[in-house]
Amino acid sequence: MNSPRIYALHDQAITIELGNEINEAINLEVLYLKQDFEAMPFEGFIECVPAYSSLTIYFNESRTQEEVRKEIISRLEKKNLSTNKSTLIETTLGSTINIKPIIIPVCYDVEYGTDLIWLSNHLGLSIDEIISLHTESFFRVYMMGFIPGFAYMGTLPEKLHAPRKQTPAQQIPIGSVAIAGKQTGIYPAAVPGGWQIIGRTPHLMFDKKRNPCSLLKAGDAVQFKSISKKEFESAS
């Protein structure tokens, strides 16, 4: 791998870019760096925001771009990611990242999974096959983004890869579970969106009164569990 690209995203933020793809190994490396900065924060550190293949580090006004850049580069050199990263990642992440999956109940009834019929035709799979494929896999939360509490999860089995909608839906109901390309996600609020909707969870993905407010975070493992309409209604 090439050495990471480091750039300013804001006067008070620096991004370390390790690639430009949805790749589990790169994402693990991102999360590994996140943990490292969180465990040993430098002076003025605010937070690390992971994306698929990059980590953005925010710092407060007490530190300059130049100082923080130096700090980041020297830390990356110490980690010497490109040579022995796999051992480092295994030893650090193996023990610290929560690998027990978080189970998320989903009602895959066509009333909630409004794109199931379209997907069934498009993918050449029965609705039951779609549900099986979605519930049998373990997913990783690669990153959070889009809106508060939205987790980008992957990687979807290839048989389920479907394009985004041509025109985004005006309002997707809260809790809608959706897929797009290699990804799956859950809409934490009623917003416009372009992913294909396959079901709905009664779980609140984002609750500002909860700490942490988001049910999921980058690095979590997730498995979906099919529930009946009745179970969904009594849980909502």
Partner: protein, 328 residues
Amino acid sequence: MSITILKPGISSSIQDLGRWGHQQFGIPISGAMDELAARLANILCGNDEHESVIEITLHGTEIMFNEAACISLTGSGSIIYLNDIEIQYNRLIKLDASSILKFKPAPSGCRSYLAIQGGLDVKKEMDSTSTFAPSGIGGINGQNLKMGDIISLSRKKSLHKKADEINITKNGFAVSTWIGVDLKEQQHNGIIRINICTGPEWDLFNEQFRSKFLNSEYSISLMANRMGIQLEGPRLELTEKKEMVSTPVTKGIIQVTNEGLPIILMADAQTTGGYPRIARVCSADLSQLAQCRPSDRLIFLNISENESLQKMRKMKEILKSIEIGLVN
């Protein structure tokens, strides 16, 4: 101690300097769009710079003071009346109970900031009082201000004693003779100059489009709000269409949408985005953008990272010197 929102106007909300530290959960920074004006408003009335202020977008807002208070107003975008008498921005104002502040249409500018000495007594949510209405976070019940909202005031000690030097007249208020600096930069032939640094995907645009971006005039479209400002002007294209994975974005980032038009991300911006990031606005100039309204025209000037940092540093030094001047 409280104030009552008689009319919220086009849009008004409680903001501070932002909700930092929660972007990893997808929560935007939010905070005052014109950060420098919000800081200045607090400094002028003796508050800490981080105190909550009321951001008034354009006009229509009316606020009643249920108690006597000392206030300051910064920014631009309204002609402001206090008890039906026009008052100026960037002053310290002392007023009697029952005074009414009205924000009426002005020919230019976009956002005014009201700071009240002692601060607003608003509960922080996730370390900030800033309102992010789309997710119902901050402010009063997570919402922009509504008619009839009552905001309690705090009694934090003022950092300066300038209010003692002015006496309320029969109008029910008094205005300082001194003026806090106007942080708005001079416009050139009505065109606003916005300093930018090249963005992470700058190299994905060829010379033709880079120079188009830097040498063309863009105008603010009607799609301009706290999340972002969509521009109108020459369209830009990537040299080769490239599928991008979601990348980090934050306020100041300029993305180029599928239609080829630049969109500048502002305070309530998403934390990730999928469009190429052609540039980023120098942090100090986000304040200039916050004061733009639809059809305002702008051009971009490419400056170095270092110049960008210097610019913000200079603005903060100006603010610091005002603060020191008032305290001593």
